[in-house]
Structures are given as structure tokens and as C-alpha cells.
């Protein structure tokens, strides 16, 4: 039986950001869906109850080798063997390194340009060639990682904290707070993201990354909040949470000890995938001329500048575009792998 796609409390579907953000939410949502009753096929001992406390079909507890595994260690074991996870994790590590110390692999100065070399192709020491301004495309591509990652990580942390806390509180306490929050989230979903960005950022004149980060957090938190709210609601309904409450555990203890640990997984997944889409969003806004501004080195700006010359010098567009796509892909794959590992249904 398919789980209802959207919560009946939501007046609008969270699609202001289009498919990419829905990917994040959709992947995470499948984690918040209530667990289905155990498979009727008795021959699937691998699919044990999520807490691994020795479901009858699994290896009997006490039997040698039948050590019960917790979901978390189980997920970690699975992740370590997953090539997709390893690949994306390595890639992200590399990206973080070069955004901290770009000079490690690029000796030049991304802002030192030589107009005489405008649009020239690859040359020794300059493998990616030159752009219209005669700047070294390789150096600029390497330095572009910093802006993208800064925006992506800061915006994700902001959106995850804000959305997680507000959504979690809404799910846990319910009542008017929940109703208010759901309506506010609806309002933000009603605004198409790119349009909102154009309107909001076109009036800002700062050339730091912070307006872009702020805008992404502003439009990104409702997505996380909705997931967090849903997963808290699901976690709250678990029998052991009900039992803890029946035994007299106060709301604070219930939230911290029982609900939060179980509700946090979907938020992590949505945040990881969202990180990739935020990077893409930053590039899109920069491309439209309202995101980051020069002299900040950004893939979006470089692609925008290179676009009119695509017939003459496609290399100017392809390298930053490739870097951008690979970066986004790395984060989305990471989120996808984490989701797979945390989802006992599809194990």
C-alpha cells in the first residue's frame, strides 16, 4: 500500500524548488513512513526489525554469530562497503580540501588575467585554457569550489538547524504552534525559488556570500521543517515512546532520549541531498546575475560569462560546469547512499 504522498495538513506540495529539492524531500520522506508489518515471507532473516533485537526470523539471539546489530552500526557497516558512498565521500573530502587550500593544486591567482590570451585553448601549465578575460580557467575552477562549498554548507547548516528545530517542535508539541508553522511553510512553498531569489537578491548590494546563504536558508528551512515534523510525528507514535510516556517520562526526556534520535535520520538525509541542490541553486542565481558577484570566484558566474561564447570556446563553459555538476552529484550520491543504508525496508 503506498503511503499517502503528502500530509493532509499541508495545503501545498513542496515543489517550489522543482524536482531537485523534491528528490531530497522524497528520499527522506521514505524514511519517515511508518514501518510496515514484517514481511510475510519467513525466509528473509536479513530483514530484521530495525532495532535488531532478534526478530524471530533472524538469527536467534544467543546463537554464536547472531549478535544483534543496531540500526546505526548496521547502516555504518553497509555504508563502508558501498562504493557509491566511498566515491562520493572521497570526492567531498577532496573538494573540502581544495576549498580550504586551493593553492595546493593551483599555483596561480584566479584574478590575474591576461587579455591577450582571451579564449585561448589549453596550453602547458594551463590545462583548461583561458576565458574571455584571459584568466586561467583551471585556477578559477579550483578556486570556485570555495564559494560553492561555503554557500552550500552554511546554507545547509542554517536550514537544517532552523527547520529541524522548528519542525521538530511543531511535530512534538502540536497544537496552534504546529498549525501556524505549517501555514508559514506553505507560504514559502508558494514562492517559486528562482523567482524569489531574483526578487530578493536583486535589491541586495553586498558582494559577500551571506545574502545568498541567508536567502537559501529562508526558502530552504520549510522543506527540512516538514520532514522533521513528519519524522517526529512518526517517532512519537512508536510503541516504545508511548510506553516511555506511560511510565511517566517527562516531555523533555521523551523528546531527547526517544524521539529525537529516531527522527534525526531523515533530517540528515534531506540535508545532505539539499546541500547538493543548494550549490546548484547558488550557481543558478549567480548565473542569473543576482547570486555571488565578482570578484568572488564562482562557477555560476564563470558559466554565465562563458555562455555567449559557447560556439567559439566551449572549454570555458565545460570545465566549471563539469566541476559544478560533479560537486552537486557527490553530495546527492552521499545522501542517497546514507538513505539506502538507513532504510531497513530496502536493505
Amino acid at each position: 500500500m503506498p503511503e499517502p504522498y503528502e500530509n493532509p495538513n499541508e495545503a501545498v506540495a513542496p515543489t517550489g524548488a522543482g524536482g531537485a529539492m523534491d528528490l531530497a524531500a522524497g528520499e527522506a520522506r521514505s524514511l519517515t513512513a511508518p514501518e510496515r508489518p514484517a514481511s510475510p515471507v519467513p525466509g528473509e532473516p536479513g530483514i530484521t526489525a530495525p532495532e535488531g533485537t532478534g526478530a524471530p526470523a533472524g538469527p536467534a539471539p544467543g546463537e554464536p554469530g547472531g549478535r544483534p546489530r543496531s540500526l546505526r552500526t548496521d547502516a555504518w557497516h553497509q555504508l563502508r562497503r558501498n562504493p557509491v558512498f566511498l566515491l562520493s565521500a572521497l570526492l567531498i573530502l577532496f573538494l573540502v580540501l581544495i576549498s580550504l587550500w586551493p593553492q595546493l593544486i593551483a599555483g596561480g591567482d584566479p584574478l590575474r588575467c591576461d587579455l591577450e590570451r582571451s579564449q585561448e585553448g589549453s596550453a602547458p601549465g594551463h590545462p583548461f585554457g583561458y576565458d574571455t578575460q584571459g584568466c586561467d580557467v583551471y585556477t578559477r575552477t579550483v578556486y570556485g569550489a570555495r564559494a560553492s562549498l561555503t554557500v552550500g554548507i552554511c546554507a545547509t547548516v542554517g536550514a537544517a538547524l532552523l527547520g529541524g528545530l522548528l519542525g521538530g517542535a511543531a511535530g512534538f508539541f502540536g497544537g496552534w504552534w504546529d498549525a501556524l508553522l505549517s501555514r508559514i511553510a506553505d507560504v514559502f512553498f508558494g514562492i517559486p525559488v528562482v523567482l524569489g531569489g531574483l526578487v530578493f537578491l536583486s535589491v541586495v548590494t553586498s558582494d559577500t556570500v551571506w545574502p545568498v546563504v541567508g536567502f537559501i536558508v529562508l526558502l530552504g528551512w520549510p522543506q527540512v521543517a516538514r520532514i522533521a515534523r513528519g519524522s517526529v510525528l512518526t517517532a512519537k507514535e512508536h510503541d516504545y515512546v508511548q510506553a516511555a510516556r506511560a511510565l511517566g517520562a517527562g516531555p523533555g526526556r521523551t523528546l531527547l532520549r526517544h524521539v529525537a534520535p529516531n527522527a534525526v535520520a531523515p533530517v540528515i538525509v534531506v540535508a545532505t541531498i539539499a546541500l547538493g541542490t543548494y550549490i546548484a541553486l547558488e550557481a543558478t542565481l549567480s548565473f542569473l546575475g543576482v547570486g555571488l558577484r565578482p570578484p568572488t570566484v564562482s562557477w555560476g558566474i564563470d558559466i554565465s560569462n562563458a555562455a555567449p561564447q559557447i560556439r567559439n570556446a566551449p572549454h570555458m563553459l565545460l570545465w566549471p560546469a563539469g566541476a559544478l555538476s560533479v560537486t552537486v552529484l557527490a553530495f546527492i550520491m552521499l545522501g542517497d547512499a546514507v538513505r539506502d543504508a538507513l532504510d531497513p525496508k530496502l536493505a
Binding site: 500500500m1 510475510p40 515471507v41 519467513p42 525466509g43 528473509e44 532473516p45 536479513g46 530483514i47 524471530p56 526470523a57 533472524g58 538469527p59 536467534a60 539471539p61 546463537e63 554469530g65 547472531g66 536493505a347
Partner: protein, 361 residues
Amino acid sequence: MLLDVQDLRVEFRTRDGIARAVNGVSYGVDAGETLAVLGESGSGKSVTAQAVMGILDTPPGRITGGRILFRGRDLLTLPEDARRAVRGAEMAMVFQDALSALNPVLTVGDQLAEMFTVHRGMSRRDARARAVELMDRVRIPAARQRAGQYPHQFSGGMRQRIMIAMAIALEPALIIADEPTTALDVTVQAQVMDLLAELRRETGTALVLITHDLGVVADVADRIAVMYAGRIVETAPVHDLYRAPAHPYTRGLLDSIPRLDRKGRELYAIKGLPPGLTALPAGCAFHPRCPRARDLCRTDEPPLFPVAGEGQVAGAGGDGRGAGDGGEARRAWDAGGAGGRRSACHFWRETLDDADISAAV
């Protein structure tokens, strides 16, 4: 013989290794006969049934050996088209949880009519009329109106009646009922079971009743096959088995039924847990839990011994149902045991003798 399962083996590939869910199961069902397959969850009884129906999830499941003869044809070697024509028309299945076994977005009338349009090529109108007839037959009130409703609008008992109607729609020679009453309230259980038994009598259909409920079995079944860890450990005419089980596992099961005449005494429980299917114990799979286990049981896997003696007495003795009309050496494989009794226990004889002691205690 209508259905003859021979040495069936099914494996599941899992993260923890190969799970051997069915390890050489053999049973037979005659036309018009009711066979109860008894066992805990995980004993392989449902998997066997799914293999017979051809609805095993493959992968992860895989049939690794054996034959399934239905009306003399081996279903496992039949081409998919021929196999499909058998399903639903010649053998049908009643599932445990009717709510999830019925399609939530189609009306029950459509789901019943589908049988006739697909297998019989009927027009939609005729098929619809037959669907309503069927619903009448399983005593669903206001069948004509209710045919246009969706599964979630029916009560649990009514839904199971629809499942039964679907099973009898094309008057198959064999119905496999996989725990048909487990998901129902006790009062409704009896009604559904009675309906199933009644329809079976009317149509002369053979029935394989899969259950873990010993109480259900006694009333309707002719014969019982008890399964444990993917094997049949004992098979016998129903009354013989109840009177004197020839396998310690069956003994344990019978002793763990609460009984009014033993009120106040501690209830018997089989110690331990069923074995994991990825790592079955050597020898007799039941030995770690068996009160009777000796060294032999830990090393040698017991074959299905024919059970003589007590069973013979019971068969000849006057209750007239059990072995008397059901078991007379009909099967090649069970010809050895009186009344078709067999037990996969090295010490079946001792177990059998214990029966009297147990009754006396």
C-alpha cells in the same frame, strides 16, 4: 493424486547468507481431501504454498530442487503461460490478510470479475453479474451494491469472504488457504472457517489449510503435516496425531495448548527458539530444543520413518474418519506407515508411548 509435492527445496538469498526455508518437503493431497499444514512462522509452510502456486518472490527466493506434480504435470517445468492458466483456474489461494491482499484502488466487484474476463473471456457485464453471484454465495449482504465498493469499506470478515469468493470463482480443484483466519476476530474466525468448509464440501475441492492454530485443524482437516525448520517432521491422520503424536515437536505443540481440564497447572512451553534458517543445526533441526535429544540426533538427520503400531490401532479403531477413509496406502511415499503416518524422529516409538503417560498426568 491431485497434488504431489516431492522433495521440494527453496532457498532465499539474504544479507546473512543463504536461508534454506524449505528443505525437502513432500506431501500429497487427493481430490476432495483437506490437508492441514501446521507450523510456527518461519517453518516454511507458507513458502511451500507459494512455491506450489508459483508466486514465490524470485529473487530473493529460488527453488533449488524437487517436483510439484499437479494432476500429473510437473508445474516447475511448465512454460509460464501454461502455469498461469493453472493459477486461479485450477488452483487458487486464500491469503491471510485480506486487506493488503486486495487491491486498494479497485472495487471488489472488479477484482472478482477480473477472474472471469481473463480466464473465461467473458464480457465485463457478464463477469460483473458473476461477481455479484459469487458475493451472494459467500453470504455478503446487499451484494449488488457492495460490489461497487472498495476493500477498505468492508469489515475484516467480509473481506476474507471476498478472498474466498475469489478463490472459488472458477471452481478450482485445489484451494490453498494460507492462515485464512489468523487476522480475524475469534467470533469471525469460526464463521469464515465454517464457510470455507461448507463451500469445500459443496464443490468437492481439495484444500490445503496452512495454519499455526491447532484448534482450527481438528474440525476441518483430514490429515495433518507438521513442519519445523523447512521440513515435515510428522504427518498423520488428524485424530491419530491428536491422540498420540509421534514427534517430540508435535508433542510440545499439543502440550502448549491451554486446556480447561488442566486449569491451574503451569502451561507447557517448548524451550528455546526456532533455529535461524541461515544456520540450521546439524542432525535433527529440533534437537537443541528437544527434551528427548541424544547424541544420534545431533549428527544424523532423521528421515521420515513410517509409524506403525499405535497408528494402526487408531486407524482400525472406530472413529471412522482419520485413517479409515483417508489414509489407506494411497501414496507411494507413505505406504509404509499405517494410515499414512510418518515421523522424522529417531525415537518416534518412545514418543508415541509417552502419549499415554502425558494423558494420565
